[in-house]
Amino acid sequence: MKKSIFKSRWLPYALIAPQLLVVIVFFFWPALDSLRLSLYQVSPFGDKKIFVGVQNFVGLLISPEYHRSVLHSFIFSGAVTFLGLTVSLFLASLANQKIRGLPFYRTAVLWTYGIAPPVSGVIWLMIFHPSYGILTYLLSMVTRYEFNWLLKGWVAIVLIVLAATWAHLGYNVLFFLAGLQTIPKSVVDAARVDGASGLSLFRWVTLPLLSPVTFFLFIMNMVFSFFETFGLIHAVTQGGPGDTTTIMVYKTYLDGFVSLRIGVSAAQSAILMALVIFLTVLQFRYTERKVFY
């Protein structure tokens, strides 16, 4: 392994200092501050602070509303991840074949990733709105069923899951496509010679060879659907109806920014922080071991 050697001892530190500064000011400092705040009951303007120890956490752990938001988060993330990975693997395998107009198809499946979550939220809102959405109108005409997600929880969840999956599809397809293209042709050919074809080739050769990519995407999709779908939910359902689409990160927002209960909100973000750290550790440990195949 080649090591770069700097003449001055301080030069490397000076070079990474701006980056470190950004990380410290924008990530570590707020993170530590919210950890500190999670132990207080804080007035909206921050003029009154009462130390309450772990009371905020205890309050959350016994609150049925919080339990529901955790449950909703896992249902939501599980559905988005599962649906996202299956659909994108399917699309990636199609896009990996030699067909006419391939560049067009590849671009078409990739570009949804360029759309910001709130924008995709608004697009889906327009398509699915109970009063002026074109699709709800057509669906109700065909099925005689009111797809009113303002009132029907399951419709709201399905809508958000579909929108989130769609928004993240490009990213998944991109990685799967790259993964598929790294599979050595010789391995595939060898399998073909051994008589494998179609599904069995996919099941026993392609899928195991893709497992590092799949695992990476699994983690990324979990993180995405846990945290980055905030904009989508905020634009479409705002957590409703009832609290069916209030996932953990949205409840943190509601408590902190709408209700101005800063301590409770800080405690929730501490829990979320622990969750991200867990997922990241998981990712680093297992992707370094290359999963298995």
């Binding site: 980056q19 007035s43 009132l151 209960r261």
Partner: protein
């Protein structure tokens, strides 16, 4: 890719800091004050107009109006700015955050500002339901700006299409039942009846309108409230009615906040309850015949009054003396009858003083726009009691959110009205307790 992003961040930071150094040197001789508000669209343009009018009316002061997003977003931004000492002089705060502001210690009360600046404003002339909402111990703490109240809207075109006589608005829930049912069963529309701001129109306003308490301590006006009272017979009757109607397709729940405005403005809803602020928009845009009426009544309760909604302007502590002079001048300008009359005529919000109301009555404004008169007729026909001063609770934003979530559970038959209301009260009391423990 990551490093590119970081480079951009650093570049932006450098730009930001250098701009901080450059900006103050290009200042005007005028005293400049900043006002953060939450209006977009038609009303946002009128905010710009009123600021421009003030700026061109004199040469000493300049007001800059900055749109900061929704009400909660504006408040959050103001709080963050206050803690960083970069807050504006004036912020617009939604009526339900009034207790939060009063308890904050960050506010320079308007009555005190005006007496310090020796500007005389006849507070006694302010319309009582508006004044009471923003007063503490008889003194006005914030400047009422956009005040609305809940009224009933009905779509004459739709009701006529349904073969229903639409010469006068339905005045009771029984009449709404008949009219909305006719509109839906005749196929004239899919939405017979809907509401905007569900908690505000159906809980806060309906309690005041039927002279029932919303919370203890006179809805929080006599002291910090600790108990919600909305799991009463009135709410239960109302929610039973609405969930039955929802099942029959007569009532359509349109979502939280202002979402219910849309079906009324679009002409999809035959009957709706919403803020008076829709009158301005409907007057300008409606392509159908419409009318307004008083809030509907349930039988068996005494007459109360409707309460206001909207927002007021809070003056923040921590600024220079000459800036407060500018603020006082601007608020004085806003309180003038001609500005109030103009603001009302353009937006449908209530003018805050009786003088402005009289000035409007002297013209043919209300004859030409009878729908703009409805709110005043409603307020002046109502009886003011302890239950109609308003709702002043800490954490009210969260409480309202809870109430609306429980309403959704009731309307979808996940819970009975009794269960849902009890749960809303239980969660609300917890929030009240939390707030009270902080300000003991």
């Amino acid at each position: 890719m990551k490093t590119k992003k970081d480079l951009l961040t650093t570049a932006l930071l450098i730009l930001f800091f250098t701009s901080l150094c450059i900006l103050p040197s290009t200042g005007f001789a005028k005293t400049k004050i900043v006002w953060w508000h939450a209006h977009t669209g038609n009303i946002g343009d009128r905010v710009k107009d009123i600021v421009n009018k003030f700026n061109s009316s004199q040469s000493e002061y300049e007001v800059e109006a900055v749109y900061k997003g929704s009400y909660p977003e504006t408040l959050t931004a103001a709080i963050a700015a206050y803690r960083a000492k970069t807050h504006p002089q004036i912020i617009q705060v939604q009526e339900i955050a009034t207790q939060t502001m009063l308890s904050s210690g960050a506010v320079y009360p308007v009555y005190q500002l005006m007496s310090d600046e020796k500007i005389k404003i006849n507070w006694a002339d302010f319309i009582s339901v508006v004044k009471s909402y923003y007063s503490y111990k008889g003194n006005l703490y914030s400047m009422p700006f956009n005040s609305s109240t809940a009224i009933l809207y009905y779509n004459k075109t739709l009701l006529k299409k349904a073969g229903f006589k639409a010469d006068k608005p339905p005045s009771t829930f029984e009449e709404i039942d008949k009219a909305a049912k006719a509109a839906v069963t005749s196929g004239a529309t899919k939405i017979g009846f809907t509401v905007a701001w569900p908690s505000w129109t159906l809980m806060e306003n309906m309690h005041a309108w039927h002279d029932c308490p919303f919370a203890d301590q006179e809805n929080g006006f006599a002291g910090l409230a600790t108990q919600l009272k909305i799991n009463d017979q009135l709410s239960e009757r109302l929610m039973d009615l609405l969930s039955r109607w929802q099942g029959q397709g007569i009532f359509t729940y349109s979502g939280r906040g202002s979402r219910g405005d849309q079906p009324i403005i679009n002409g999809e809803a035959a009957i709706g309850i919403a803020s008076t602020a829709l009158v301005g928009t409907l007057t300008k845009t409606a392509k159908f015949e419409w009318g307004t009426g008083f809030l509907p009544r349930l039988s068996g309760y005494s007459q109360g009054n409707s309460i206001i909604g909207g927002a007021s302007l809070f003056v923040m502590k921590g600024h220079k003396a000459e800036e407060y002079k500018a603020v006082a001048k601007f608020l004085e300008f806003l309180s003038k009858p001609e500005q109030q009359a103009w603001w009302h005529a353009e937006t449908g919000y209530l003018p805050v003083s009786n003088a402005a109301l009289k000035a409007l009555q002297a013209t043919d404004h209300f004859k030409k726009n009878p729908n703009m008169w409805t709110a005043f007729a409603q307020i002046s026909s109502g009886k003011n009691t302890v239950n109609t001063q308003g709702v002043r609770l800490g954490n009210l934003i969260a409480i309202r959110d809870n109430i609306e979530a429980e309403m959704e559970n009731i309307l979808t038959n996940k819970k009975t009205s009794k269960q849902g209301l009890n749960d809303a009260v239980k969660a609300g009391n917890q929030l009240l307790k939390e707030f009270a423990s902080m300000y003991k």
